[in-house]
Symmetry: D2
Subunit: 424 residues, 4 copies
């Protein structure tokens, strides 16, 4: 009933690790349970999965002194990208003794022969202070590049390991690269580091940048609350990131404690009718004379005519629920001759470009170092996951089938914090 | 050639001050020069004005134990309003022994018989922690209320002193109140505390909230810079406050050191032509592949069809230069088939709602206490000004004739920081 | 081989919960594994324990409208205490409808008939903004009070539930209260909320205040690093909290990335000899001319003559390893006529008194609400634990037998970040 | 009666400035009044001094393309040193076209033939991000070096301009260098940029780093206040910088609004007696049960046996008034069997090593650019001063005769904020 999740890796691993492994305890053959919440703890009646634990290995596949590494950052900005780049470099350089780490510029596009910028050899001086800054030293872009072109690049440059830092689109691209590598029977490892400010990658309980994002979102919500409180019938709407999952909206709501309505993609809501948002909001303004709404960008999509547009990464572009709500609410109160003062705040570009907070800095360091351990041991076609506080190896296809969504318990915490009724 | 600026005040001042005045040194009869930069320092050839210095007076007009005070905050939010409220209360209560301070709710509208909220008696517990929060405890609103209604309120409630915290519209309203008070021959003092996040009130070298605003604007500009740097041909536009004066744009530019083009109301610029913004920006992107533009909301108004709308405070509503620029730039590069990644950030509501920074906290405290000293001594129809580091009394009509604008030297500092050419 | 951890509770639970439980999903009978890292995942050869999951229950023991609650904060300050107080109150008042929550002043001492301050009835206005401030609204103190006196108080005041917020000393006190309650056969629940800035309570993977503490510690380490770098042969020593466990030293080291030597209670080190700290430090200064040392207060105790003193909470008082190191290092280099500039920073009182950061605010809210759920359901003699991301119920005696310590893997991350050799 | 302050400069100035001077308006021949507060504004009865205004000049003494510049930072760390270095470099390089700027390492000691580190040629990449960090890129040290050695260095390296960033000791050293330069009849300009975290240099109304320092001091005071409030009879003592002047203590007190007693060098106080600190503190604890004391390091020196020690810069070393007070207060209450909880915080190293805040960043930029303008125009033996908001040239001997101290009005603001009685 229980099964071990199988991980692809090159082999045999015949190189002795240069790390002081005694400090780490025994990691080699340990596994962790995927699902540990049981109704029937003794019986183990349901099928459960056991994941390989991430960490350093005694035997490596790559000889450090002969290893060449490439790293690329793709997709939208997220706090902590520079911390990841820096820790990957430091772990490779100082701890394994890998001499050459190549930074690809501006996402997958940087592998192309007609890339706008040549790759950058990383060194200790270049990466020294980058973790103090937002963004990514290497630049980023959206959109795929043919796996053929990328594997050509890797082959021509003699690259042994490729680290792909990005969301599920990026990692699906990484899997295509793996398939092309396998076709060509090359001993190149591809290891993904999941980057999702929305915190919605599966098998990653918490992704880096998320807590930084909710800290900044909370600051903006605090301002929105002040704006709403300081005028009569003040109403502030804050749109936050979250295309398919409401984690940022949820976390910022609980952190701020000042939100009255939180709208997320996972939970449908109505605008009209007795229990709809407009009527409930109307009653609140009559009673309390101010309100704060936080809306995730992917919330309430059923209220909007469907969009067919996609961004360069292939993500379905959402219609702007924030402005839609803004206008609906404004028109509702205008039609009722009920004067309100409405403020609309959309801080996304501000939030995602800041340096990583302390808690995310620590997390980035762990993701980065575990990715290096995995790659040096010859693992491939995996991302580093984080289940129940333990870093694990997750096959890319398994990680990218779907997105993580708010659990009913997480949503209950939000409802507890806002006191909002069921709006559906 | 030199003349003392005359200040209205009630008199005679026969009440002895309860303050420990020995600590302050001699203030009573000192004056400061309005203009101290001379081409001809010895000749004093030009007419100069001397202002009465603000500060505690030995003789008061109002008997503290019998004094009733009202305070009102008007217009847009600005960091430090709560610090001002708190310090006014503490100075009146603990140092002068004034027993009654009434907070008017939601701006001048709160004086109206049909106000939405009754005034609030302030006390030590209510104001204790308010300086830790943005906004204003009392709430605010835009727009005038008839002086007649306000003076009725003051008379019926037996108010002796009214503090008006607001910008030039608010202070013009305060002057109308003074005129009505004079018509009715009432011994009521009206003292204004200048509030302008734009830092554009005359005779006020620096107004509270300004440094907090540029600190927050700088943070957003830093994010905008990261956004622009991390993609190929990234272009970020940040719109900041500044209807008639570019002080926030200027200060945030110098603080950030990452801005390439700063556009302010005082300095006209062209979009088209060889030296226009579009061509200059195009050349920069070709060369450096990223750019940051900071634009004050009142910049480039001549480029827009004139608007006749005014806000409730009577301020001429500007067309939105930020979105206008955004669209013009987007269209320019689209027409040139030059792919850029453009980000538009408008952080105004976020900036103005935060708590006052340290430097502004100190400044608020001074403005507030000097306003109390002036009012207790019977001064009226004045605002507290700040010239060359010294707090002064400025007649309201003199302070509200025009707005302060960037000096050529201040503008030169901006140009030095951005390296931008003349765009006119 | 596996066993469920048994939890004490009152019963039968015949009161229907007023919460909207549908939002939470099914929690009632779920359990989680204590230990999920297996060498042999299929065999389950070792004994494992299953914990009851925390969360709301359908059936309550206490009738909300008749319930009286007391809450007390004990021991040293920790970021987040006010958040816990506020969320406990809000959950009891708004969600369960409990009418009466009594705040005990200044720790267990506040139960005494000769307490310095009378207890405080909490209400929505009192707790409204307290989470924005460090410290604890109720005050705190160290040291036990006889369980007899406390149960007298509870009985006389008709208290049904007592929440004890504190470290393991406090929770051992709570267990003594439970024993006295059982002796008197009273239906009073006692639920502990673990508070340990050192993050060293067992069965609590991460305690509130910890990330705030390492964020502040990191800031101070950054300053220490600047101090060391900006002079020739600069050496900064930063002492941080951590009596028995080096979690703060470890976390701050990884977050800062600027520490060269981290010293923790779990890992012995030598001062003298070729591999001792003094010699290693000497070599580093010769080579790099600056160094930063972070030392947990409980590190290197074997180097000091043992102390017999205890603080009022009964904790063995450690000799000050920070000053000891400072003097040893100063004397070493003086004796070698090697001029160094040494800075000693001890920021503990600064670190522990700040408001909770965003990530800790979210955590506090969860601990508080889960404690309320447990108590209302009649659970007693437990603390709220957190294993692998899931909140659980842990019997107090089980939680207080020992303290949590850095795992070998956590220590390996530190060594990776500092690059320090084995100093033992 | 009025006189112009004479400034030393090389001449004739026959090189045309490359700056766009039209942007600046006319600065050349303007002066500003030293003292503008008059009792008798019309009579100008007292002698007044007029200072030359700082700013760019049309005619330069040095031909930019042939100019070599050196810059040195000396004495204690202060927020903003890196901003000054960066703006000096950028102004010289981009605006004047000066090709060579040499950074001297670790203070005046870096000029010595046996300096520990060779000077560093600055370039745009090196200085690009340094303003984001505390400390000084160049390093610093205390103590003088013979002017002979320094002028030898300047002569051998062909340096034309030396910028000395430091306090009054550093600037006295700069004057000695000028004298040696004059002896050798060399056309080398020496321009000082005043650095004093204590804000105590004469003719400098506000020095860079000061507001950053009080912001950080305020944070620590806030923690001290929380510590004192959260225990019964809690007493916190915070020692801040301020050897001869209490500006930091004063500013942090007003910013924090939570201090009960502020002790500064300018205002003597007694410990013993009915009106002494111990008795007053005792009464406050009886009444309010907590207190916060802020003490500048140079306060109450008459209470201590005089010290004869000096630091390497020649500053008389003060006995530690902070620890002295701590022990006196502890002993007093112990002798009265009055239990108190006392916390002592000394955050100096933390405060002075942080990056400059926004307001200081702007100020640093101005000081740096004005220093460059002055030096290029051949001014020498001056520091850049700041009077009444205007940057001026001040002869070094005039600036270093004494230190600035709190005015009676500034002290009155402190007393107003604390409510403390006269303790002398």
């Amino acid at each position: 009933m229980s099964e071990k999740v199988q991980i692809s890796h090159h082999g045999p691993c015949a190189v002795r690790s240069p790390l002081r492994l005694d400090a780490f305890g025994s990691i080699e053959s340990t596994f962790i349970l995927d699902e540990m919440h049981y109704h029937d703890p003794l019986g183990l009646g349901d099928a459960v999965q056991f994941f390989e634990r991430a960490g350093p290995r005694e035997q490596l596949f790559f000889e450090p002194a002969q290893t060449k590494v490439a790293i690329v950052t793709c997709g939208g900005l997220c706090p902590g990208l520079n911390n990841v780049l820096r820790s990957v470099y430091l772990q490779l350089h100082y701890h394994y003794g890998v001499p050459a780490v190549l930074g690809i510029r501006y996402g997958y596009a940087g592998f192309s022969p007609d890339a706008t910028s040549a790759p950058l050899w990383l060194n200790a001086e270049i990466v020294n202070s980058i973790h103090q800054f937002g963004g990514t030293l290497l630049g980023t872009s959206r959109g795929p590049v043919s796996a053929d072109i990328i594997v050509d690049f890797l082959q021509q440059r003699g690259i042994n390991i490729l680290f792909t830092v990005g969301g599920d689109g990026t990692q699906r691209g990484a899997h295509a690269i793996v398939e092309e590598i396998q076709r060509r029977k090359l001993p190149i490892s591809v290891v993904g580091i999941p980057k999702t400010i929305d915190d919605d990658v599966q098998y990653v309980n918490r992704s880096f940048g998320y807590y930084t994002a909710i800290e900044k979102a909370k600051e903006v919500i605090d301002s929105a609350h002040v704006e709403a409180r300081c005028v009569h019938n003040g109403l502030s709407i804050v749109k936050v990131m979250g295309r398919d999952s409401g984690f940022i909206a949820a976390g910022a709501t609980i952190a701020s404690q000042e939100v009255n309505f939180t709208l997320v993609p996972e939970v449908p809501f109505k605008l009209e009718g007795e229990r709809g948002l407009l009527a409930v909001l109307h009653r609140r303004l009559l009673e309390r004379h101010h309100a704060v709404i936080v809306v995730a960008e992917g919330a309430g999509q059923s209220l909007l005519p469907p969009s067919q547009e996609r961004d360069a990464s292939g993500n379905l572009l959402h219609r702007d629920i924030g402005l839609f709500l803004h206008h609906k609410i404004r028109d509702h109160f205008a039609s009722q001759r009920f004067p309100i003062v409405i403020r609309y705040l959309d801080p996304s570009y501000y939030i995602r470009s800041v340096p990583a907070s302390t808690v995310d800095s620590v997390l980035c360091d762990s993701f980065a170092r575990h990715a290096v351990h995995a790659a040096m041991a010859g693992k491939t076609d995996i991302i580093i996951g984080l289940q129940h506080g333990v870093f694990i190896h997750v096959p890319i296809p398994m990680a990218t089938t779907d997105r993580k969504r708010l659990s009913s318990e997480e949503w209950a915490s939000v409802v507890t914090a806002t006191g909002q009724p069921d709006l559906a």
